[in-house]
Structure formats: structure tokens, C-alpha cells
């Protein structure tokens, strides 16, 4: 059984759904990448799983840790999970750190909670963690307040804080956006090492396809509150199957060659409150057919571990190339 299993998780804010049935499993020690359109619900997925959404959100579905339901669980069951079993790195580090506490204290708190460390021991550990994430002069910086640090430094404080609880699963929501590539590399190395040494699972939410592909073994692509494609990271770059995923690849600015105009996916996400009847991506899809506007596609397994939610997606042989013909059978299956 997977360590964390999210089943049919849906979240709505008022009348507009943010998640429309997410299914995702994370195995122990596994690194899963989560990419997708901005606003598609990556952050909400994990906030919902940990019960951190505001009361205005309605959450349905199920989130199991080792088979235990934590969605809507009482506080007593939830608190040891948070930070201890599943730790989360938030997207806006500066706003997510308590402005009136010294960073050392904020990290130390997690140590005290989950590892029973206090006093000098905790302090030494805090310094070690800060060193580990590459904060210079950690001995003195533990006394700094968040507003005295740069954006990237705050982000690293968040990372250190999440690691402090030695979690079994780390959900890192864009953990390196404010870091330059060298430090980013260092952090990613650190995460990989930790994963190898402690068996920590990792969910990496990022827009940086390079980062995700380097760090994760499996990648899930989200669009408009759904997972639209899921595959091992090698395959997703070689065989992007959902048109949205292909769009993402195409939009990446090149690092060499002639500078050309970037190709963004045309159009925009449909408004959550007014989702189209069929495929949510259909209005922007250049391969869309009439059928796409009618059928809401479900994920189709393409290979053993690759699935995509597109009625045009076709199974392929891992070694071979996908055929260019539409398989009627696939289409039929999608309609059920």
C-alpha cells in the first residue's frame, strides 16, 4: 500500500471547484513531481490533505496515510502528522514565516515537537540545518528575523524548518523559486541525499521542468483541478502525451541557439465556476475535436506506468514511437 494515498479529492471554494477529483499515491522514499498550470490546484491539494485550508473551503474525498484517514480527522490525530509525518514547504516564504519570531526559534519549535530537542541541543541542530541549506553565518543568523533575510534565505529557512521534523513525506511547494541555480542544485542534492538515506518521500511542486525531471522519478501534470498526465520522469519528456504537457515543453525558453519568440499555450484556463462540459483543456487545444467538448476524459493507462486523461492519447510501446492513428477502442474506453 502506498504511504500516502489521495483518493478522489475535491475542493471547492464557495461555488467554484478548485480540485475536481485528484487521485495520487506516493510510495515511501519516492519522489513525485507535480507540475501544472498556475492556479490548477497543486498547492490546494496538499493544503487540503493536511487540513490547512480556510473554513470556507469544502473538501471531499479521502487522504490515507498508511491506510489511516486523515481528512477531517480530529486535531489530536492530525497534529502529529503535520510536520512529523508530512512536512510542507510553503510557496510564499516571506509571508509564511512568523515576522515576530527569530528564525532559530521557529525552526527549533519543530525540533522540540517532533524530536523532543530543547536547549543547546536544539540550537546546535538548528545551526546544522541552516548550514545544510546553505545559510551563511548560521550561528548568528539564527537570531535574525525573517524581514532581515533575503527572499532566498527565507525560503531556505522554510526548508530547514520542514526538514527539522524528519518527516516521512516532504511536500515542497516551489521550494527553490528564490534560489539561484547553484544553491538550488545544492538543495536538490540535499533532498535527494535525504531521500536516499532516510527513506523520506518527496512531492516536489515546481514549474521548473528541469528541476522536476532531475529530482523526481515520477511526474504528475495537473490542469484545472485534475491530474491530466502521470508518468515516470524520463517518459514524460520523451513521450509527452497530453496536449497540455506538450504545450508546457514547447514553452520552455531555450538556453542556446537563436532567440525566438516563446510559444505560450493559447487561451486561458476556464473559470472554475463555469467548467466546460467536456475536456477542460479542449478550448485551448489545437488537436481538439468536437468530441472533446462533450466527453470529460478519464485517465487512460498508456503504458504500465504512464497515463493521460485525453481521448486522443494512445498507448505506446516503451521503446517504440506512438502511432499516429486514433485507436477507436481507446476512444470508446474513454467514454465509459
Amino acid at each position: 500500500m502506498a504511504f500516502v494515498e489521495i483518493r478522489n479529492l475535491s475542493v471547492a471554494f464557495g461555488r467554484s471547484p478548485a480540485l475536481r477529483g485528484i487521485n495520487l499515491a506516493v510510495e515511501r522514499g519516492e519522489a513525485v513531481g507535480l507540475v501544472g498550470e498556475s492556479g490548477c490546484g497543486k498547492s490546494v491539494t496538499w493544503l487540503a490533505a493536511l487540513g490547512l485550508l480556510p473554513a470556507s473551503a469544502t473538501v471531499r474525498g479521502s487522504v490515507l496515510i498508511d491506510g489511516t484517514e486523515i481528512l477531517g480527522a480530529p486535531k489530536a490525530r492530525l497534529e502529529p502528522v503535520r510536520g512529523g509525518r508530512i512536512a510542507m514547504i510553503f510557496q510564499d516564504p516571506a509571508a509564511s514565516l512568523n515576522p515576530v519570531h527569530r528564525i532559530g526559534r521557529q525552526i527549533g519549535e519543530a525540533l522540540g515537537l517532533h524530536r523532543g530537542m530543547t536547549g543547546q541541543r536544539a540550537k546546535a541542530e538548528v545551526i546544522r540545518l541552516l548550514d545544510q541549506v546553505g545559510i551563511p553565518d548560521a550561528k548568528n543568523r539564527i537570531n535574525a528575523y525573517p524581514h532581515e533575510l533575503s527572499g532566498g534565505q527565507n525560503q531556505r529557512v522554510m526548508i530547514a524548518m520542514a526538514l527539522a521534523g524528519e518527516p516521512e513525506l516532504l511536500v515542497a511547494d516551489e521550494p527553490t523559486t528564490a534560489l539561484d541555480v547553484t544553491i538550488q542544485a545544492q538543495i536538490l542534492d540535499l533532498l535527494t541525499t535525504l531521500r536516499r538515506d532516510t527513506g523520506m518521500a518527496l512531492v516536489l511542486i515546481s514549474h521548473d521542468l528541469g528541476v522536476v525531471s532531475e529530482t523526481c522519478s515520477r511526474i504528475a501534470v495537473m490542469y484545472a483541478g485534475r491530474i491530466v498526465e502521470e508518468a515516470p520522469s524520463g517518459q514524460i519528456f520523451t513521450h509527452p502525451n497530453h496536449p497540455y504537457t506538450r504545450g508546457l515543453m514547447g514553452a520552455l525558453p531555450p538556453l542556446s541557439g537563436a532567440r525566438r519568440r516563446l510559444v505560450a499555450i493559447p487561451g486561458s484556463v476556464p473559470e472554475a465556476a463555469h467548467m466546460p462540459q467536456g475536456c477542460a483543456f479542449a478550448p485551448r487545444c489545437n488537436a481538439a475535436t468536437d468530441r472533446c467538448a462533450e466527453v470529460d476524459p478519464v485517465p487512460l493507462p498508456l503504458t504500465q506506468d504512464h497515463s493521460a486523461a485525453c481521448i486522443h492519447a494512445r498507448p505506446y510501446h516503451q521503446a517504440g514511437h506512438p502511432s499516429h492513428h486514433h485507436a477507436a477502442t481507446t476512444r470508446e474506453r474513454a467514454m465509459q
Binding site: 502529529p80 510536520g83 509564511s96 514565516l97 515576530v100 515537537l113 524581514h147
Partner: protein, 311 residues
């Protein structure tokens, strides 16, 4: 640091001089103390003599300067009523006032802050509503009505507590309860509002995500961020500790500074009023310093604003 202290002291001096001057002018220009103290039936000669002996026959500015002269030589003057040293009279009252205000202040804190926090956490629940209705009522019921009701029930009808006087610590209970109720109500409402302000902030979510129990999130993370209004109010409360409470002291015949002030103002007994006002001003200034230090402690961003180090 030195600069900070100096500017603080300078400001304190300015405020105190303003206060003292203001009180001087007001008391001197609103009714003749000789008349007030000697009464309506005193012979005019007696009143003139009284004026002369207290220098009230001098022009106002002469009185003003001699008053300041006296202050700088450490002499706050004597009560025009009974000739006692003004500071001594006031200091004699301070302990009995503090005996009411300090416990009442503690009651305010111990009841008010948790009640506010609690109400914020259970926003719109029955408990929140009850706490807030209690708080508002506690604040809006005139304190002498509250005092009288307490006396009628607890002393007159049940005979549990003495109704007035200053004979034992039992006498202090009702006045403290009366004062505590209103102040706690005040703090509770400020605390609730400030807490609500903070509870939606992302860092509260972070603290929860860390696995902190909700109570710890509230007390350790939210409260400190919400503390500024509460601290401001606490500052005013601290500053008011020596001033006492006129109504409560009157109802419970508690000879505190508040009543002394009312009597002395009514009698235009300048020296005593000045001594009291000076004490209040000094406590205010001290309370402000405490508040500023607390501001800095609860919100490091308010400290010096990361002033650039100029080379």
C-alpha cells in the same frame, strides 16, 4: 541607546511641564480656593488673609514662577486645606489605591486576554457571543450600578462581604471585582479583534503545518502578532494605576488617590492636585517606556526600522 533614553527623558520633561502648567492655569482660573476652602460663611477678612498667606493675591504669572521655583527646589508645596506636605498626603494614599488597582489590573489581564482569545477562536459561536455580550455589558453598565448591585447582593442580602470601608482585605474584594469587570471587558474586545486579524495570516498556517497544537499556535504565534493594541491598552491601564478610580472609591469609601483628587480639585487645593498629576504623569511616562519596549519585543520590525548604518 543613550540617544533613545535622552530623547525619552526630554519628551517626558516636556509632557510633565505641559501637564503641570495646564493644571496650574486651570485650577487657578476656575474658582478661588480661598472661598472654596473657607466656605460661604467665612468673613471677608479671613478670606483675604487666606489668599495672602498662600500668595493667591499675587499676579498669576508670579504665582506660576514661584510655583516652578518651588518644584525645582524639590518642594511641591503644602495642602491649602490642612497644611500637610502635598507629596506626603498623596504618597499616603498611593498604597491603598494600588491595593485596588493592581489586583484589578491583574484580573483584567487574567480574565480579559484569555476571554478575548477564546472568543476569537470560536468566532460566532455561542460562547463568542456570550463572552462579547458579557464584555460589552460589563463595560456599558455604569460602574456604580454594578458596584451597588454587588453590594446589595453580596453584602446587604447575603452578608458575605463588607460593603464599604478599609478594615481588612475582604473590603477590597468588591471594589476589585467592580473594576476588574470593566477592564477585563475592554481587553477582551481588543484582544478578540486583534486575534481575528492575525488568525488568517499565512504564518499561522505554517505554524499549524509544523504540527503545533492549536493552543500553542494561538498562544505562541498569534497572540504575539496580535499584541500591539492589547499592549497599548495595557499601557494606559498601567499608567492609570496610581490615579485610582473615583467612582469605585466613592461607592466603597475607599480613601484612594482618585477621591483625593476629586476632593482636592473641588477645593482647588493646587499642591495636592499637582502632586497627584505629577505622579500620574510619571507613571504614564514609565508605562509608555514599558509599552515601547514591549512593542519592540513583540514586533522586532518596530525597533529602529533597520536604520542604515552610515559610514
Amino acid at each position: 541607546m543613550l540617544h533613545y533614553l535622552l530623547s525619552r527623558l526630554l519628551r517626558a520633561a516636556v509632557s510633565i511641564i505641559m501637564v503641570v502648567t495646564f493644571v496650574f492655569v486651570v485650577l487657578r482660573m476656575s474658582g478661588d480656593p480661598a472661598m472654596v476652602i473657607m466656605g460661604a460663611d467665612a468673613p471677608p477678612e479671613a478670606i483675604d488673609a487666606f489668599r495672602k498667606s498662600w500668595g493667591l493675591d499675587q499676579p498669576l504669572w508670579v504665582q506660576y514662577f514661584s510655583f516652578f521655583e518651588a518644584i525645582f527646589s524639590g518642594e511641591l508645596g503644602r495642602s491649602m486645606r490642612d497644611g500637610r506636605d502635598a507629596m506626603a498626603v498623596v504618597l499616603e494614599r498611593v498604597p491603598s489605591t494600588l491595593a485596588l488597582t493592581v489586583p484589578a489590573f491583574l484580573v483584567n489581564l487574567i480574565v480579559g486576554v484569555p476571554a478575548g482569545v477564546y472568543a476569537a477562536l470560536h468566532r460566532n459561536s455561542l460562547i463568542d457571543r456570550c463572552v462579547m455580550v458579557m464584555a460589552v455589558t460589563g463595560f456599558a453598565v455604569p460602574s456604580f450600578i454594578l458596584a451597588m448591585l454587588l453590594v446589595l447582593i453580596l453584602s446587604v442580602n447575603l452578608g458575605w462581604l463588607p460593603s464599604a470601608g478599609q478594615d481588612s482585605w475582604l473590603n477590597a474584594i468588591l471594589p476589585i471585582a467592580t473594576m476588574g469587570f470593566g477592564g477585563a471587558a475592554l481587553l477582551a474586545r481588543f484582544t478578540r479583534s486583534a486575534m481575528l486579524e492575525v488568525l488568517g495570516q499565512p504564518y499561522i498556517r505554517t505554524a499549524s503545518a509544523k504540527g503545533l497544537p492549536w493552543s500553542a499556535v494561538v498562544w505562541r504565534h498569534a497572540l504575539q502578532n496580535a499584541a500591539i493594541p492589547t499592549i497599548t491598552i495595557i499601557g494606559f491601564m498601567l499608567g492609570g494605576l496610581v490615579a485610582g478610580a473615583v467612582v469605585v472609591e466613592s461607592v466603597f469609601s475607599w480613601p484612594g488617590v482618585g477621591r483625593l483628587l476629586v476632593i482636592s480639585v473641588a477645593n482647588r487645593d493646587l499642591a495636592i492636585v499637582q502632586a497627584i498629576v505629577l505622579m500620574i504623569a510619571i507613571t504614564m511616562v514609565a508605562a509608555n517606556m514599558i509599552v515601547d519596549v514591549l512593542y519592540g519585543l513583540v514586533d522586532p520590525r518596530m525597533h529602529g526600522q533597520a536604520r542604515p548604518a552610515r559610514r
